[in-house]
């Protein structure tokens, strides 16, 4: 069987300024990020012949408008359903397009304004919640269940009951990521967060407190993926894509839970990861112990617990205790989301974390640098993963 291992690499990354107030259109932010990614990698605009996007209209920039606005001649374009969860699959499509010769250099573009479209986030404009037989986070507006936060709240409430975990333990997640953001000049939320702050913050959808929920922000990030051969000639140290596995779906799954938790119609069973569940490690020829830092889609803090259990960093029901005492902080056993993530850096739909992985593996992160970083992993509560190495 052919493998995609080490056949593609990220050669350039760029980002706009991140903000909690509307500054520019998503297109302007995305154009800035794109130009900075070109400059970062020493890549010419005319080399970019692929374009992939996961957050398009009405939150972000669509592929057709971006190609037109930036004068790109694209021969491989792909755009998913407008959802953050597709960040990993979108990056994987870029790598697959490059590895199969459908494109030579693919720009992964995310320019997004959550602020100007705030009414879409769980409000009456959130038409996804009206999907026949329910939304993807269990939305059911008939009963007032209307926001993505509710999906994470339903899952963690059951998790609390099954394993005796608490909201105070969950607080370790946003507190860790806030510490990372404090070391990141680009992060929006940099002031210290205490457990008392977390516990006394208002409930959004109980049991989730305000600080369990990601930022609502504007920003853009761009990642350039090309062949490993081309990458070796570019300006910066290439970051190779060593392994991938796809997003999961089906009767064992609920988007915002570890398999088998029993949310919505999700089958209930005791999950233990099999080799098939974790094929990303086999492809990348590493194990969890080789991962110098783990990055995940932290739209809501329970997702951090669920990804740790899904990928076998700890056992089922153990993540609450496992994430205490600085274990997921810089300097801990497994630093996670070292830029501050969606909870404290910005909500660029996860692409800010992909940019962070690349900068970390190049050794560009200054005060928050993970020393000696060689292998880093992107993985989500819904099961996709990509492993990178320098």
């Amino acid at each position: 069987m052919t493998t995609i291992r080490d056949r593609t690499a990220i050669v350039g990354v760029g980002a706009s300024r991140f903000s909690k107030a509307p500054t520019d259109t998503p297109m302007r932010l995305a154009a800035q990020a794109f130009k900075s990614a070109l400059a970062d990698g020493g890549v010419d605009r005319n080399e970019v012949d692929g374009l992939v996007i996961n957050i398009g209209w009405p939150l972000g920039v669509d592929y057709d408008r971006f190609a037109e606005a930036l004068g790109l001649r694209i021969r491989f374009a792909d755009q998913s359903w407008t959802h953050g969860r597709f960040v990993g699959p979108t990056l994987q499509h870029a790598a697959m397009a490059v590895a199969t010769g459908l494109a030579r250099c693919v720009a992964c573009v995310c320019g997004v304004s959550f602020i100007q479209e705030r009414g879409l986030l769980g409000g009456p404009g959130d038409f996804e919640g009206t999907r026949e037989e329910g939304g993807t986070h269990e939305e059911n507006p008939v009963y007032g269940l209307t926001a993505p936060a509710a999906g994470a709240a339903l899952a963690v409430q059951r998790y609390f009951a099954l394993y005796g975990a608490t909201s105070a333990e969950l607080g370790a997640v946003p507190i860790a990521f806030r510490k990372h953001a404090a070391l990141n000049p680009a992060a929006i939320m940099r002031s210290p967060l205490t457990l008392e702050d977390h516990q006394s913050s208002r409930f959004v959808v109980e049991p989730l407190h305000l600080f369990d929920c990601c930022l609502v922000s504007d920003g853009a990030a761009v990642v350039l993926v090309t062949t490993a051969d081309r990458a070796r000639d570019t300006a910066k140290k290439p970051v190779f894509i060593a392994g991938m596995q796809g997003m999961r779906a089906g009767p064992d799954e609920f988007l915002f839970a570890v398999p088998g938790l029993g949310i919505g119609q999700q089958r209930e069973f005791r999950y233990t990861p099999t080799e098939e569940q974790l094929s990303v490690y086999r492809m990348a020829r590493v194990t969890q112990k080789d991962v110098d830092a783990l990055y995940t889609y932290d739209a809501f803090s329970p997702l951090v617990w669920f990804v740790l259990e899904r990928f076998g960093f700890c056992g089922l029901g153990e993540a609450a205790a496992w994430t205490q005492k600085g274990r997921i902080e810089l300097g801990g056993e497994l630093p996670m989301n070292t830029s501050g993530g969606l909870l404290s850096e910005a909500h660029v739909s996860g692409w800010n974390s992909i940019v962070e992985i690349v900068r970390q593996l190049r050794g560009e992160c200054g005060e928050r640098q993970v020393r000696g970083a060689r292998v880093m992993q992107w993985a989500t509560a819904w099961g996709d993963s990509t492993i990178f190495h320098s």
């Binding site: 037989e133 059911n140 926001a147 409430q157 009951a161 208002r202 109980e206």
Partner: protein, 137 residues
């Protein structure tokens, strides 16, 4: 009677029998005519055996809370007066889980595993919503 201002279900050919039964204050679910498995939400084939054959069968309306949340943030203006309001998922004794509200129970007393039973709320002349209350002991 003031107009009902909250979202209403979208009735489709697939789910119409569910809402027709609810209108008559009966809870009915699809049951595979081949493997007898109940399923929800309504779907054209059985997810277990892919059979096209199904019937709408009355279910007990009895179950247990499998998880729940309490909304504190206002997302829909039409729910503003209800805040803080609960939403529960109920695992019916027949297997499928329904999302609904639990009535007549203070939010602080809701717990996972609590036994509940269905009631029907006639919110419009066309639509009766299944909700749940604590089961009679």
């Amino acid at each position: 009677m003031t107009a009902y201002g909250k979202p209403l279900p979208r009735i489709t050919p697939d789910n119409r029998p569910f809402w027709d039964a609810a209108r008559c204050h009966r809870l009915a679910l699809q049951r595979c005519a081949d493997c007898a498995r109940f399923r929800y939400p309504p779907a054209p084939v059985c997810p277990a055996c892919l059979s096209d054959r199904a019937e709408w069968a009355a279910v007990s309306g009895q179950g247990a809370v499998s998880t729940f949340v309490v909304f504190h943030q206002r997302y829909f203006p039409s729910f503003a007066a209800d805040i803080p309001y609960n939403v529960v998922q109920v695992e019916l004794d027949e297997g499928p889980r329904l999302t609904a509200n639990l009535i007549d129970v203070p939010n602080a007393e809701i717990s996972i595993g609590m036994r509940v039973e269905v009631i029907f709320d006639d919110v419009t002349s066309e639509i009766s919503l299944p909700r749940f209350r604590r089961a009679a002991t």
